[in-house]
Subunit: 330 residues, 2 copies
DNA sequence: CCTATATATGCTCAATTTAAGTATAAGTTT
DNA sequence: AAACTTATACTTAAATTGAGCATATATAGG
């Protein structure tokens, strides 16, 4: 009836999805743990209740040790505790509970050493990048195999539930693609056995019918780090719309087009250029510096900086980009 | 440089903020733990890695045991792990890490037994209820004592930082009241020693100057449960705007005015009635049942039900109530 | 029945915001 | 110089929002 008794055999792991934007691409910082020969993972480490005053402090300590990178903006994402997310657990290890964090850094300051390296975010989620239109993999591979997974369910209500979920997550059957539902989509692919972790986690070979799919559904990370990454991307895509997070990723001054490219890199779609400028100007998110950019192609652009005061003026300052991405098949 | 080593002395506690709306008031379910003579708290219990397959399953188990209530909608909020949030820890107990959840139930089905009881949410956050205009306590008590706390800081930059934070959180100095920043406000009051937990947690008497304030800054809950509650209210206020969560709290059919009252109860402000109807109708959130309500006062109202299909049609279906509440002093 | 009062619901109207352009300016590349 | 890039100003129609008026249908009290 109360909080008597104590849990045992729990270990808390802190993991960080560290994001930067460079070359118009969203990047994520990865480390290659010594014990894993093949796969890399997010910077992470166990929470030490004796040494760490707070969870976030523990995370910062681990990250600085593993990447020699100092984190600025940090935000807690989610705590994952499902059984058997880590194969080690089957061998009698303690139950790992992992607290995932999202961190944003302004520029890529670490070199790609053997220890850590920046990777393109969409390497892990190829279906999330709609900047050049709907990713072909959706129609060629994902849709048919998900349909097969629907048919695979035993009962009619089960099939309906599955169909319902994939329609919602992927916008099949007339719905719209919602760029924030990154985690929903990843979890469906996981349940359908269409990402490699699904088989790795249960220690089995992937079913024959899916062996041809797995090489195309993104690169694998250790444990549940790809799930944490999916959570991070979803959160970030949602939050840039109502908080000025994007400026945590930009240099101190930037052109409006650079800003637009950064937003597009994260949100995975294209924006109407003229309306984008009007938007950020009208919301008071930026102010001109009076300086002109070292140009890249055409007419030189004016340099802008983030207007910090905006957080006082508006309840939800952010780049309120239209939620819609170009329709599927259109 | 990796995930070697294991933490020890950690116990994970699962806590639920269970919300219902009745009599136009938001309610929260509380239990009175046997060992605490004076204070009640949220339903909670330790996570058992051997018995609980997932964190959420553990939570549901504890809640059903403590409240004989079956939870419908459940969502994870945040994981709290700061040192010394629980006084027990100073006595050498293990480091408690608590995972907070938000749960929504449709009606109040448990009776108020000695074990559990429904309490008005705003009993714990009197400054959050703006339905009858700005709460007087803001100007009479909170503002002056927060100003004193600003002056209390040692250095000028510290004072500026504090002033900045309270301006943002409370909308002082010309800013607007953002009804979602519930946690920011609670944490500031905590840091300023203006809620009773602040002194309880460090095991000291409250400073003389604040003794008169504490009886008016809301009722106390055990451990950090009021912080979890603040997180829950903030999340709920934010989320009803873009997800149809409000219907998890409504009976199967309802009048539009009942729906409006429920939204007002949670968001803590008043809405324009005609525009509210237009909004929910135009967003396709509800559909008429054709039946007429057993009326309460004036002309009988039509009964509506939630249109589940709406989640397919719009990327962010929710009651997009205007973020603004009536201006302070206006 | 008549009146006051409460709620429900339909409708207007102006201001603002949004989506999607056209047009023009000012550079670089060939 | 012509072709091409990128930047920026401006237009226009449609949609949304905020505020309020007007009317309908009930109850309660004289």
């Amino acid at each position: 009836m109360s909080t008597r008794g104590a849990a045992s055999g729990v270990v808390i792991e802190l993991s960080a999805a560290i994001v930067a934007v460079s070359d118009e691409a969203p990047k994520i910082l990865l480390v290659r743990p010594p014990e894993a020969i093949l796969q890399s993972g997010l910077p992470c480490g166990p929470f030490d209740p004796a040494g760490h005053r707070t969870l976030e402090e523990g995370l910062r300590t681990w990250v600085e040790e593993q990447t020699t990178l100092h984190l600025g903006y940090v935000e807690q994402l989610y705590t994952f505790g499902d059984r058997f997310r880590d194969p080690q657990e089957r061998a009698g290890g303690p139950r790992p509970v992992s607290v995932g964090y999202l961190a944003l850094v302004r520029q890529i300051s670490t070199k790609d050493t053997g220890e850590s390296a920046w990777g393109d975010w969409y390497r892990y989620f190829p279906w999330e990048d709609w900047r050049d239109g709907p990713p072909p993999i959706l129609d060629s591979l994902i849709a048919p195999h998900l349909e097969a997974w629907v048919d695979d369910a035993n009962t009619k209500p089960d099939r309906n539930r599955r169909q319902e979920r994939i329609n919602l997550a992927f916008g099949f059957g007339g719905g719209a693609w919602d760029n924030e539902r990154v985690l929903d989509r990843y979890e469906l692919l996981y349940e359908a056995g269409m990402v490699a972790e699904a088989s790795l986690d249960v220690g089995r070979e992937p079913p024959a019918g899916l062996a041809g799919v797995l090489p195309h559904t993104g690169a694998v990370l250790i444990k549940d780090h790809r799930r944490i990454l999916a959570t991070a991307l979803g959160r970030l895509r949602a939050k840039i719309k109502y908080r000025p997070l994007i400026f945590e990723l930009m240099p101190p001054t930037f052109t409006l087009f650079q800003l637009q490219r950064a937003v597009e890199a994260l949100s995975g779609g294209r924006l109407h250029k003229q309306n984008f400028r009007r938007l950020v100007a009208h919301e008071g998110l930026v102010e001109p510096t009076g300086h002109i950019s070292g140009q890249t192609g055409g007419r030189p652009a004016e340099l802008f900086r983030f207007r910090r005061e905006v957080v006082h003026e508006r309840p939800a300052p952010g780049v309120r980009v239209p939620v819609r991405v170009s329709k599927r098949g259109g």
